[in-house]
C-alpha cells in the first residue's frame, strides 16, 4: 500500500510548494484553534484557497484544531467547524474530546486524533476509531515494532511522524512555557522553553551551566521502508514554521524515497540523506523509532541550524525568447556564484550567475535585498516555483 506523504505549511505559498514538490496532503493551522496560531496566516478564506489549490491537484488539506481549549476558546468552535466543512477541508486534526464530539454533531468532517492526545496503544486507537475518528496520529514515543503491533490490532488509519523537530516531552504534557513565559504551550503560545539553556544543580550545588534537554530533529529515512511494509497510512513531516526551501527539500526527498521503494528501485540511503541535508537543519536522529530514548538522540551545544545549500530565490516566470528568469530573492547571491536549480519534477541542475538585473533592467553586482524581484540569465528553461539555491563551496 502506498502511504500518504503529509507535509506542513505555515502559509499559502508553502501549501503550494509542498504539494508541487510531492506531498499528497498538507496540514495547516488556522488563527484560532491551532498550536501554531501564533504564526498562522490562515484565515478561513486562505484555507479555502489552499483547499481549492490542493483539490485541483487531487490532493488534500487537513486543518489542525488541536489546542487544549479553555472555555473562552470554545465560543467560536461551532462556527469554525461549520466554516471548515463549508469550504471542503479534507479532515480536521483534534485533541480534545469535546471538539471531536462537536465536529461529529455538527459536520461530516473527517476527524484525525492529534498526537497531542499521546496515543501509545491499539486499545485507544480503537476507542477513538469507534467514536468517530478515522485516523490516529500516534505518539512520537513509539518504536517501529510498537507501531507494527498497534497496526495489526486496529482498524484506524495510522499517521506517524518521520521528519522534523519534536517536542522533548510527551505532547500536550508540557507547560514549561506556561510557567516560565506565561505563554500557553497547549493553546499555540509555546515559547520553546525546552530549547533554552539551564544551569543544573545537584543538592543545591551547581554542577553544570550548560544543561540542555532539547532533542535532535527526527529523520526517519532508514525506517520509511519498514513503515510502508507495516502499512502505516500517512508519513508526516513536521515544520509549519519552516521556510519554503526546507519544505520543498524535505518533501521532495521523501517523495523520491517512497516512490523508489515502491518501484523496487531504492537507492543507497545516503542519496536521500544528502538531499535532506541541503535544507537548513539541526542535527538529526531516529527519535524513539529504533529503541526508545538514548543520549544519542539529544542535542547539546548546538544553537544554529546547518545547511549545505543556501536558498537564494524562487522563480516567478521565465522568458523563453530572451532566456531570462524573473526571480524573487530570498538570500544574498552574487555574479559568478554557482546556483542549483531545484525543481519538483526534474533532476537538479546547476547554472553560473552571469548577470543580475533589477526589475527595471538596472545592472546589479549582487542580489542583496530579500523579496526584491530580479532578473537572471538562464539557458536552462525555468518554471514558476523552481527554487534556486547557492552551492556553498
Amino acid at each position: 500500500m502506498k502511504p500518504e506523504l503529509l507535509a506542513p505549511a505555515g502559509d499559502l505559498e508553502k501549501v503550494k510548494i509542498a504539494l508541487l514538490y510531492g506531498a499528497d496532503a498538507v496540514y495547516i493551522g488556522g488563527k484560532t484553534f491551532s498550536l501554531r496560531a501564533r504564526a498562522s496566516k490562515f484565515g478561513v478564506n486562505d484555507i479555502f484557497e489552499a483547499v481549492n489549490f490542493a483539490h485541483k491537484l487531487k490532493k488534500k488539506i487537513y486543518v489542525t484544531c488541536n489546542i487544549v481549549p479553555h472555555s473562552e476558546d470554545l465560543k467560536e468552535l461551532d462556527d469554525y467547524l461549520l466554516d471548515l466543512e463549508r469550504i471542503n477541508v479534507d479532515a480536521i486534526i483534534v485533541s480534545n474530546p469535546y471538539v471531536l464530539k462537536r465536529a461529529q454533531e455538527l459536520t461530516d468532517l473527517e476527524i484525525h486524533v492529534s498526537t497531542q492526545q499521546s496515543v501509545t496503544n491499539s486499545i485507544e486507537c480503537e476507542y477513538w476509531f469507534s467514536n468517530g475518528a478515522k485516523r490516529i496520529v500516534l505518539a512520537r514515543e513509539l518504536t517501529v515494532e510498537e507501531i507494527a503491533s498497534i497496526k495489526e490490532k486496529t482498524n484506524a488509519e495510522l499517521e506517524v511522524f518521520i521528519h522534523g523537530g519534536m517536542c522533548v516531552s510527551y505532547s500536550g504534557r508540557c507547560t514549561l512555557s506556561n510557567v516560565m513565559s506565561l505563554r500557553d504551550a497547549n493553546r499555540g503560545g509555546c515559547a520553546h522553553s525546552c530549547r533554552w539553556e539551564y544551569e543544573l544543580l545537584k543538592n543545591q550545588e551547581l554542577i553544570a551551566s550548560d544543561f540542555q534537554m532539547a532533542s535532535k530533529d527526527l529523520a526517519a529515512i532508514e525506517f520509511v521502508p519498514r513503515l510502508i511494509d507495516i502499512g502505516v497510512d500517512s508519513l508526516k513531516i513536521e515544520g509549519r514554521m519552516k521556510s519554503i526551501h526546507y519544505i520543498a527539500t524535505i518533501v521532495h526527498a521523501y517523495r523520491r524515497l517512497i516512490d523508489d521503494y515502491l518501484k523496487d528501485s531504492l537507492q543507497p540511503m545516503e542519496i536521500y540523506e544528502n538531499e535532506i541535508k541541503k535544507a537548513e537543519h539541526r542535527p538529526t536522529g531516529s527519535g524513539f523509532l529504533k529503541s526508545g530514548s538514548s543520549s544519542e538522540q539529544q542535542l547539546y551545544k548546538v544553537h544554529q541550524e546547518e545547511h549545505v545549500k543556501e536558498f537564494c530565490g524562487i522563480v516567478i516566470s521565465y522568458d523563453h525568447l530572451h532566456k531570462k528568469a524573473l526571480i524573487e530573492q530570498r538570500n544574498f547571491f552574487t555574479i559568478n556564484d554557482t546556483i542549483e536549480i531545484f525543481s519538483p519534477d526534474r533532476e537538479t541542475m546547476q547554472i553560473k550567475i552571469g548577470s543580475i538585473q533589477s526589475e527595471n533592467k538596472e545592472e546589479l553586482d549582487a542580489a542583496r535585498h530579500p523579496l526584491q524581484k530580479i532578473i537572471i540569465d538562464s539557458d536552462i528553461p525555468l518554471k514558476p516555483y523552481d527554487l534556486l539555491r547557492r552551492v556553498i563551496e
Binding site: P69, E124, Y170, S193, N203
Partner: protein
C-alpha cells in the same frame, strides 16, 4: 471534600489519619512514575486491608503511559486490585479508562491527565464513559475552575491543590543523557539526589527535575498552596490531593493538618515563602502580547 495523601509506609497510617487524611494514595512500583514511596502489588493489597479496617479509602496512582506491551500487565493489575476493594485508580493515560471499561471497573477511574482537563464541556463525555471523576487541570485560573462547578453533570471533581506541581513529562532520560554526553559520571545515582534546573534569565527560580526508569519530570519552582481558594471550592471538590514529592515529612504533615483544621496560619508562617498560588489568579496568553 476528602483529603488525599500519599502514603510512605504502613506504619504511617495512624499518624496521617490523626492529622486528617481521608484517602491514602498508594504508588505502584510498576505503573507509577516519579514514585516517592512505591509498593508492590502484594504490598498494596496488604496496605489496603489495613486502610479499610480504619474505615478510610485507598486510591492507586497510575501515571504512566500504557504502551502495547503493557496492556496485559495492567489488566491483571487492575483486576487484582478490584478484588481488594481499592476505591479508585488515579489515571494519567486516557487508555486506562477504556481498559477499565473492559473490566467493568470504569466507575473506579479518576482521570488525572495533568494538563488536559481545562474546560467543563468534556464532563458530559466522561460522565457517559462512566468514570468516577476527573482532576481539573492545574494550568487554568480560579475563575475557569469555578466554571466546572456550574455544570450539572454528576461527575466527581478533584484537584491537585498543594505541593510541587509537575509541569513536564518526557520519556527521555534527560539527566542521564546529559551526564553521559558531558562525561559527568561522578554526578550519577540520579534517584537519590535532588536535582534542580535554573534558567539564566530567571535566576531566582529553581525547578526540581527528577528522573527514573519512566523518563524525566520537571516541576514548578514554587510549591502550590490553595489556602486562599479552598473555602470556595470545598463544596464542589470531592478529592483534594496533597502532593508529597520533594517535601519533608514534617512539612507534609503540617500541610495535611492545615487543610483538615482549616487553620492555615501556622503553616503559612513556617513555610509560606516557598509557596504561591500557581495559575489560580494568573492567566496565560495564546499569542505573545495578549496579556
Amino acid at each position: 471534600m476528602k483529603i488525599v495523601v500519599t502514603l510512605k509506609n504502613i506504619e504511617e497510617i495512624p499518624e496521617l489519619i490523626h492529622l486528617g487524611a481521608d484517602v491514602f494514595l498508594l504508588e505502584s512500583n510498576t505503573y507509577t512514575r516519579a514514585a516517592k514511596y512505591p509498593f508492590s502489588l502484594e504490598e498494596i493489597i496488604d496496605i489496603a486491608k489495613t486502610i479499610h479496617k480504619k474505615k478510610k479509602k485507598t486510591y492507586i496512582l497510575l501515571n504512566t503511559f500504557i504502551h502495547e506491551q503493557d496492556i496485559e500487565g495492567i489488566r491483571s493489575f487492575l483486576s487484582a486490585l478490584d478484588k481488594s476493594k481499592v476505591e479508585a485508580f488515579v489515571c494519567y493515560d486516557f487508555s486506562l479508562i477504556i481498559i477499565a471499561k473492559e473490566l467493568n471497573m470504569e466507575q473506579k477511574i479518576i482521570y488525572q491527565p495533568g494538563t488536559m482537563n481545562t474546560h467543563p464541556k468534556d464532563m458530559a463525555i466522561f460522565k457517559d464513559l462512566g468514570i468516577k471523576g476527573i482532576t481539573i487541570s492545574r494550568e487554568i485560573t480560579f475563575a475557569e475552575i469555578c466554571e466546572f462547578f456550574q455544570e450539572n453533570e454528576k461527575l466527581e471533581l478533584s484537584l491537585s491543590g498543594h505541593g510541587y506541581q509537575e509541569m513536564f513529562y518526557s520519556k527521555r532520560k534527560l539527566l542521564e543523557s546529559f551526564m553521559l554526553s558531558q562525561k559527568k559520571h561522578e554526578f550519577g545515582v540520579i534517584p537519590d539526589a535532588f536535582f534542580q534546573i535554573r534558567e539564566k534569565m530567571r535566576p531566582d527560580s529553581y525547578f526540581p527535575i527528577f528522573e527514573d526508569g519512566f523518563g524525566t519530570q520537571i516541576y514548578r519552582g514554587k510549591k502550590l498552596a490553595s489556602f486562599d481558594f479552598i473555602e470556595w471550592m470545598e463544596p464542589y471538590i470531592q478529592d483534594f490531593f496533597i502532593e508529597r514529592r520533594f517535601i519533608s515529612d514534617q512539612e507534609y504533615y503540617a500541610s495535611i493538618k492545615a487543610y483538615a483544621l482549616k487553620d492555615y496560619v501556622p503553616f503559612t508562617k513556617e513555610y509560606g515563602s516557598e509557596y504561591d498560588t500557581g495559575f489560580f489568579m494568573q492567566k496565560t496568553e495564546k499569542i505573545k502580547g495578549d496579556l
